[in-house]
């Protein structure tokens, strides 16, 4: 069975930068593979291997400007291929300057329908940058698939899937029919770093780039605005000189002064 994976190239949270006015300097922040999408690719590989099928990567470059982000984006896709993808179909379009779940899901649905239409599509429980967690259900509804979110285990059986879902205080085991979109949590597996050989092989795997117009879609301006970094208001007093006894004494007096530690 072929398994699709929707992968996001997300803003790297370790290298966030802002403009002088406090807005997020999207242009200058590198892209990395969204954390839980690595789990999704890894899981897709496992299922494809056990059922005999391909792993197809789908992605849409949403951050801008496309020409400056393209290199990072390609690296993300190559990483997904090295982690277990067989081929990739992606949208890179210079007319895109941001997206929102409604549009991203439309683009992914068009890609999926045009290239392979796998009956199982996986994705991470949330992207690490926008964390909306809404792509899996939105995409499922757009494709007319069933949806199961926050999967911590996944089995294909009798033409359907059995999923252990993490719903806050409970684990629910659910049975759903295929075709389906499933979002996975970080608990579902522990992806290994790709080997050098896998990385080298990834460069020989098909990576097909297409544009919105080739998919018959018109660009959409997202209604998001004012992406802004929250300024850290912490005092950042670091105590490092002195014996442990002295350091603790200083800390305790600060905490008493703050009123969070009472006699």
């Amino acid at each position: 069975m072929d398994v699709g994976v929707a992968v996001k190239a997300a803003l790297d949270l370790n290298v966030l930068r802002s403009n002088p006015d406090g807005t997020v300097a999207v242009e200058n922040i590198p892209l990395v593979i969204s954390e839980y999408d690595r789990n999704a690719v890894y899981e897709a590989r496992r299922i494809a291997d056990s059922t005999g099928g391909r792993v197809i990567i789908y992605s849409f470059l949403t951050w801008w400007p496309a020409d400056r982000k393209e290199k990072d984006f390609e690296n993300v896709i190559r990483e997904a291929l090295a982690l277990g993808g067989d081929e990739a179909y992606v949208v890179v379009d210079p007319t895109v300057s941001g997206s929102e779940p409604r549009f991203t899901a439309k683009v992914l649905a068009s890609l999926i329908k045009k290239y392979g239409s796998p009956s199982l599509v996986l994705t991470g429980e949330a992207s690490t940058d926008m964390t909306s967690s809404s792509i899996a259900p939105y995409l499922a509804a757009t494709l007319g698939y069933t949806v199961v979110t926050f999967a911590r285990s996944l089995k294909v059986s009798n033409g359907g899937i059995v999923v252990e879902r993490d719903v806050e205080d409970y684990i629910e085991t659910v049975r759903a029919s295929l075709p389906a979109v499933v979002s996975v949590t970080g608990e579902i597996n522990s992806p290994r770093l790709p080997t050098l050989l896998q990385i080298r092989k990834a460069f020989r795997k098909p990576l097909v780039k297409t544009s919105l117009s080739e998919l018959g879609l018109s660009p959409m301006l997202p209604k998001y605005s004012d992406y802004r970094l929250v300024t850290v208001k912490r005092k950042r007093v670091v105590l490092e000189d002195g014996s442990p006894e002295e350091l603790v004494d200083k800390l305790v007096s600060y905490l008493v002064e703050e009123g969070v530690l009472k006699r």
Partner: protein, 291 residues
């Protein structure tokens, strides 16, 4: 304006009523819930469980709303986002603020915010604990809905839990990978006890090592803190962890690595070996509090 509200627990009715009461010109607010009906909504549909295809069927009965507002829990989020997809509506999740028809949400694991201007019809989920209030549209007529969703729950088990509620604790001591062995966590438990607080942990401690139950896991996928003091011990400070402690009044970091990101997000930090620092801190807190 017509609003469809969605919840899977009665404890969020106040959040939903609070959000909806801040919207202009709401004439009707229908609640879909899988819990005991409550709140001053216009009408209530009680369902066995909240699913996207069920919400779509309810809309077929009650007509299209201008806004769908769900509480941001995993079940409701899935259902509302699915409904949005089925109706080609925009979706905005985990909303924390509202001004006119512009909503704010956190992005970049809590290190940023973004605004979104809603133009109905639209769907959204609101973060628990950010809105509260009451509507005056009731008393509601309650309808039971027996329809079955396409996803079948075959088993349900409670997560292993210790019954602690670190989300409402005033003081939390957090433990991370700086602890070498599970037994060593007692150093943190002793400090928490001296402080009258609870013990929480970073993701690896709960998810990978399984030294502590998941109800102690502090993170965006775990529990969020909002007390007065958080002491992060041996925690380097992954963005998802730091975000979950954003609302705490005072953050303290104890870590032997001077370059650990956690120090950037702490009010007070001690660069030092937790195995030396914690016993001293526990002793001094005991002396101070006379416990």
């Amino acid at each position: 304006m017509r609003v469809l509200a969605v919840s899977n627990s009665g404890k969020y009715y106040g959040d939903l009523e609070g959000f909806i009461s801040r919207l202009d010109g709401v004439e009707e607010a229908i609640l879909v819930t899988s819990d005991t009906p409550g709140g001053n909504f216009s009408k209530i549909y009680r369902v066995g469980d909240v699913y996207g295809d069920l919400l779509a069927r309810i809309l077929g009965e009650v007509g299209e709303p201008d806004l769908v507002v769900g509480i941001h829990t995993r079940k409701v989020l899935e259902a509302v986002a699915y409904l949005a997809g089925a109706r080609d509506m925009p979706i905005v999740t985990e909303v924390v603020g509202l001004e006119g028809m512009t909503v704010t949400r956190n992005i970049l694991s809590g290190r940023g915010t973004a605004k979104y201007s809603l133009s109905p019809p639209a769907a959204l989920t609101i973060a628990p604990g950010k809105f509260s209030g009451q509507l005056s549209l009731g008393p509601p007529e309650v309808m039971e809905l027996g329809e079955k969703p396409s996803t079948v729950v075959v088993d349900r088990s409670e997560k292993s839990r210790t019954g602690v509620d670190i989300e409402s604790a005033e003081i939390v001591v957090g433990v991370g990978r700086g602890f070498k062995e599970k037994d060593d966590l007692k150093l943190a438990f002793e400090l928490a006890e001296a402080l009258g607080g609870e013990v929480g942990c970073s993701r690896p401690i709960a998810a990978d090592y399984k030294w502590l139950d998941e109800d102690r896991w502090i993170g965006i996928s775990g529990k969020k803190l909002r007390g007065k003091l958080y002491i992060a011990v041996g925690i380097s400070g992954a963005p998802q962890h730091i975000m979950a402690a954003n609302d705490v009044k005072v953050i303290v970091a104890i870590n032997k690595d001077k370059n650990a990101p956690i120090f950037e997000y702490a009010d007070y930090g001690i660069v030092g070996d937790l195995y030396q620092i914690l016993p001293i801190l526990t002793r001094k807190v005991r002396e101070l509090r006379g416990v």
